[in-house]
Subunit: 439 residues, 2 copies
């Protein structure tokens, strides 16, 4: 007999149904027993006539919470039932698996204990919703990209040299040599540009041997990246990104807005386009005016990101803001420099509710300029082998190159902020940090 | 001025256009010069009136092949031009970057040299087409999944223990301990089932420290995986997969069939559903009848896969075949066993044109049976710590479990066979093998 999902029951009233799922709660009395069954689409009350069906009653008597069961019965309307005004009057009941009696976690367990038992933690509907949001967001991102002529690539995660900086790099033995784990698909997105792919995207893992335990860092995360050829300036990249954000946010609102409101009490706000744009120089002025003293001249500290987003929300009623024109000292060697002011790069960050979720730029595509910028970095970083380690990368620019730019986007950071959660660990399927490699 | 893509030129005749791309070929004569320009959508002839526009002629005189240029001019119909019966009469020409004069590869360079200069190798339209196919295939796969209620997950690639077998495993120093690189998302797909995700998919990298140099192996590849809850048997998984294959193949044919025919001379065949199904026992009989002597009792050698697919093509005119009911000895411990014959597993492989592209099964979800199968493997593999290393995995089955099954699918293997290419290296963006970590 075909399974009926719990969300389908309202349209199956007065017919025989088969429902499958986890035992959410059990309430057993002498004459009547009630089991709330949960699947990925909702919860439903099962009604068991303990007096009339003693064989079912003995099954329910031995049930434990979170066990899995299949029940066959009739879906009936019952306005006194809180769960959707209906219940299933059970005629057959099968226990598929019996959970051990005492659950190792409860709602107020610490985050660390919940992560130990992540699969049980994820059974809560509001946790499952995070991954429904992720699915809708990613599918919308890809739909927008493919409609705009982007190709999907899968760049290698095993590399012979560092991708961006030598720090925070995992290395491993590799057939008698050493391999490094990719920190970013940056170089390989750029390779695609010079291979004539025109526009590419990639959603995949990146790795950072970052020893810190902040709420926004992990040693492995899903990076969302794209790169665009034949741009005139980094303004083209920002214009693309804001429309892309607008599209996936509107898809999240349309498909899951009511669930997000129900389970998190939050309205999804589809951001209007264009997003506000502020140069880092202006941003620093705005932040100084709040009285905050920064230790950084060329970049924003986390507290400054929050202050700036607060200002933008108040002034423009907007959750998103582009911060532009970062100084050369704050950006990697491959960012193009402003032809009018060589101390600045053609770059931007995107903040969402006080957190950086994107770093983007126009890249330097001219071989000689790029090589000079690498040599400059080699001197300033006192890294005598930098040019050598970038030999293969620099080759991508020898035989015809195209102007290009792109951005990287933090998926878990965005979802964390969308739901106003306080830690990326809550929105990552299985978080990895310096002290966590399990489960 | 807005860029016109080369594929858009037929609808832009007699208007001024701006085209951007790579210099494919140069033919310069005294009075007339011709440059074939290439972008990701096609090629077009640029006509330069060398006599009337000497300043343009001198630019063309210094051009090298594969340099990038922008040209402004008028698109005009010219039936004598082989490339689409049109050309662009150039009025402005700008060199964006000049390629070094002698290209390091040509069409008949060895595969290894071509991989050294992969970005130049990929500039050939038939190489670019591979990634257009990949993009369409993956987007179709995901569309079919999401329509059928699947959620997308990103499982960790850094693990504390081996995912499937201890062999071919990369390991790395991890904050004073050791981490392993994931060989498969298998355990984490199964975790999702017991977390109540119902159905999940993942497309992402996996890593195998495989020292072999065959045409179908690499140390890193893109694995396409899914898992389905509440199945009745592995037949449900096969039924899902064949409809999924049918859908993405029909999308490839619809969107890229004519390009594939033009550049590879191949017809895309959308496979009819259901696919043929043959038990491994029957398959062995069929292969023996050809006179081939196998060294394996419980599995198919590569040559046997080819022979069996040949038989299926001849008998059923079908490129795809499910081989089912593999013996326990050929399958991992987590495969469910046939209740009628405990020497067999509830498993299948899917062959496409003589190559295994999928391995799938119903998984064992009953804690006690699963634990017994691990202990049995521990004895047969003489691996006294197997149960211990699977402690976290086994925990996924302690608090309520659901019947489930799924499959893994080899993306590059499928594309290789679709185009009748001979090596996965040709269809991988950047191949990784024991001797290759660059570019």
């Amino acid at each position: 007999m075909k399974r009926t999902l719990i969300c389908e029951l309202p349209s199956s009233l007065n017919t025989e149904v088969r429902v499958c799922g986890f035992v959410d709660t059990i309430r057993a009395m002498k004459r009547n027993q009630f089991v709330v069954l949960r699947d990925h689409t909702g919860k439903v009350q099962l009604y068991i006539d303990a007096h009339g069906k003693p064989e079912l009653a003995s099954i329910v008597g031995n049930l434990t919470q979170e066990s899995t069961i299949e029940a066959v019965g009739t879906a009936i309307s019952n306005q006194s039932v809180k769960l959707g005004g209906l219940e299933v009057a059970v005629s057959e009941l099968k226990v598929v698996s019996t959970a051990k009696p005492e659950l190792p976690i409860c709602k107020d367990s610490t985050l660390d204990v919940r992560l130990d038992w992540r699969y049980l933690d994820l059974r809560q509907p509001e946790k499952l919703l995070i991954f429904k949001i992720q699915t809708v967001a990613e599918q919308a991102m890809r739909e927008f990209w493919t409609k705009n002529g982007f190709l999907e690539i899968h760049s290698p995660k095993l590399m012979a040299t560092a991708s961006e900086s030598g720090s925070e790099l995992f290395h491993l033995p590799y057939f008698g040599g050493t391999a490094y784990l990719s920190q970013s698909p940056q170089f390989y997105k750029q390779m695609a540009m010079n291979a004539g792919f025109d526009r590419v995207f990639e959603i995949g893992p990146v790795f950072r041997a970052n020893p810190s335990f902040t709420s926004r860092h992990d040693t492995e995360f899903t990076s969302v990246d794209c790169e665009i050829s034949w741009i005139d300036s980094f303004a083209d990249v920002m214009a693309f990104e804001e429309n892309w954000v607008n599209f996936f946010m509107s898809q999240i609102k349309e498909k899951l807005g009511s669930s997000i409101e129900e389970l998190y009490g939050k309205q999804v706000i589809v951001p209007s386009v264009p997003f506000p744009r502020i140069t880092i120089k202006e941003a620093k002025k705005i932040i100084r005016a709040t009285g905050y003293k920064s230790e950084k001249d060329d970049d924003l500290e986390p507290e400054e990101e929050r202050l700036l987003s607060g200002y933008v929300k108040e002034t423009y009623d907007h959750d998103w803001v582009f911060v532009t024109d970062y100084p050369v000292t704050a950006r990697p060697f491959y960012h193009m420099r402003n032809p009018q002011d060589q101390t600045l790069t053609c770059s931007f960050d995107l903040l969402y509710k006080g957190l950086e979720v994107t770093s983007g730029a126009q890249r330097e595509h001219r071989y000689d300029v790029l090589k000079a910028q690498i040599l400059e970095k080699q001197v300033s970083n006192k890294d005598p082998k930098l040019l050598e380690s970038l030999e293969h990368y620099l080759r991508f620019f020898e035989y015809g190159t195209v102007p290009h730019g792109g951005y990287g986007f933090g998926l878990t950071r965005m979802i964390m902020k969308l739901l106003d959660l306080s830690n990326v660990r809550e929105v990552t399927y299985l978080y990895r940090g310096p002290k966590r490699l399990t489960p």
